[in-house]
């Protein structure tokens, strides 16, 4: 296969060499980090804004509506207008709130999602850092967000917020397990935890096809539990707007609310990109065995487009869930995890191990 067309590695190496030849290695690394940081920040903001717009459009179409269509063509700049509005809004000062934690909570949430995005490979050579234990790192970091939610709920001095935060604590601790185990299923198949190698391993077929039944089950479980982990409907118990008004972020306003809002969408983007990377081949093009011409055409589509396309497909699936299903109750949420997802997951790992052992995968 020929991926050299869109390989970013030479480009990266060229920048690296260029910087090192002009300054000391400390400053070179510092400049590189700044560039990467700024690039990710920009990407983060753009994706966040776009996802908010996309969600509003998707839900509007599912509900026989038009959705935002006033600001810009097809309402494309609606979220930018919203963002400006949120920036200008008053930050409500809460009496008797724990000021330090109250102000810290949105940053914890946003930093957690920010850290997770660093390990995700967008294309060949286009990732901030390629850990040996990439999957483990992403799982660990993305579960930090719950600390922010708990702090937000606790420090707001609001009863709704507290209930929402406690619900979210129980929820994320439980569903973290399923997310991890469903990824373990694929780790067994891939034999590695490094994202770049997982993607390389899917050059001749995505894992969801290679691992057929157990991989598909793992994909479905991952979708369900990652939806739950990102606090999205039908698992949005922490917000539960018809019960707890807005749950843990009831008391937040202005830019702090915008952080929560943005982090929700970025978390969704992160889990969707993990799903795309691990199950749907990441930036690997879609290939059909034996169709050389077809495969060649597919290769010409840049890997970044493949990656974004797959990610947005998963995000669309998650939006579809949210805008169709009613919300679960807290006990049913835990029943679903402990009585259904977890046992199925464990059996599924066993099946996957057996499949890999017998070489029944493609």
């Amino acid at each position: 296969m020929n991926f050299s067309l869109y390989d970013f590695t030479p480009f990266n190496q060229w920048i690296d060499k260029f910087l090192h030849s002009h300054m000391s290695s400390f400053w070179a690394v510092a400049v590189e980090m700044t560039i990467i940081g700024l690039a990710i920040l920009l990407f983060y903001a753009l994706v966040g804004l776009f996802l908010v717009y996309a969600e509003r459009k998707v839900c509007a179409f599912m509900q026989n509506r038009v959705g935002p269509n006033r600001v810009g063509p097809y309402g494309f700049f609606q979220t930018i207008a919203d963002f400006i509005k949120l920036m200008l809004k008053e930050l409500v000062h809460i009496k008797n709130a724990d000021q330090l934690l109250f102000n810290l909570a949105p940053f914890i949430i946003i930093i957690a999602s920010f850290m997770a995005i660093a390990a995700i490979p967008f294309a060949k050579g286009l990732h901030a850092i390629d850990f040996d234990i990439g999957i483990l790192y992403v799982i660990a970091v993305s579960s930090l967000g719950v600390v922010g939610i708990l702090l937000a709920g606790w420090s707001s001095n609001n009863k709704y917020s507290l209930i929402g935060a406690m619900r979210s604590g129980a929820q994320i601790v439980s569903y973290e397990l399923s997310v991890g185990l469903s990824l373990v299923t694929i780790i067994i198949l891939a034999g590695t935890m490094q994202f770049s190698q997982i993607v390389e391993g899917q050059a001749n077929g995505w894992f969801i096809f290679k691992g057929h039944i157990p991989a598909f089950i793992a994909f479905v479980i991952f979708l369900i539990s990652s939806t739950a982990e990102t606090n999205r409907g039908p698992f949005d118990l922490a917000e539960a707007e018809s019960e707890l008004t807005a749950g843990f972020h009831t008391e937040y306003s202005g830019i702090k609310f915008a952080f929560f809002f943005l982090a929700e969408y970025m978390n969704m983007f992160i889990v969707a990109s993990i799903a795309a990377t691990v199950f749907l081949g990441g930036w690997m093009p879609f290939h059909m065995g034996g169709w050389a011409a077809f495969n060649h055409i597919m290769d010409f589509i840049p890997p970044f487009i493949w990656y974004i396309g797959k990610t947005f497909f998963v995000i669309w699936l998650m939006m579809w869930f949210k805008w169709t299903f009613p919300r679960l109750r807290i006990d049913q949420l835990l029943t679903l995890e402990w009585k259904y997802l977890l046992p199925i997951n464990l059996v599924n790992i066993l099946i996957m191990a057996f499949v890999v052992l017998m070489g029944w995968h493609f």
Binding site: M62, N64, R65, W320, F325
Partner: protein
């Protein structure tokens, strides 16, 4: 063993019911022709209210600036909210008698509940429903309207 099958049939039926629901939303997602939203300010030109639409109470005037209101005050008494006030004036008739006629028919749109009793009770059919529905104004005083136009007079053939 029975509970084992029950466990899986529960999962199966649950997933099936979820997919049925997703089919509905998915179908609407891919059929933008079913969108029902009205693009309100844009469709102002084509927007036509039904002919019986109760927008506001008006007093129709003919081309000679004549209305049918005798100023009898039945609408004022039949209004449950006091949204109609009638100011009468006395004029000297050619034959020397004094006659009461309407001076101002004041209509407080802000107090009207659109029950239609004034229009129904009017003996000379002087009032009617208007089609105007964009009543938002910046000053509350603008919601108090005088229904008889300035300089208007009563149509000759109306007798009290």
């Amino acid at each position: 063993m029975n509970s084992f099958f029950k466990y899986f049939s529960e999962i199966f039926h649950g997933v099936k019911s979820l997919l049925t629901g997703m089919k509905v939303t998915g179908r609407y997602f891919f059929s933008p022709g079913e969108i029902v939203t009205q693009q309100y300010p844009e469709n102002r030109k084509t927007l036509k209210m039904y002919d019986r639409f109760k927008g506001e109470v008006i007093m129709p005037h003919n081309e000679r600036n004549e209305h049918r209101c005798t100023g009898c005050g039945i609408c004022e008494t039949s209004c449950p909210n006091g949204s109609i006030e009638i100011l009468q004036a006395k004029i000297d008739m050619p034959d020397g008698k004094k006659k009461r006629i309407i001076d101002k028919h004041i209509y407080h749109l802000s107090m009207c509940t659109f029950c239609g009793l004034c229009i129904k009770s009017c003996p000379s059919d002087a009032l009617a429903w208007g089609q105007e529905f964009e009543h938002a104004v910046f000053d509350r005083a603008k919601l108090t309207k005088i229904l008889n136009k300035p300089g208007s007079s009563i149509i000759k053939d109306i007798v009290e």
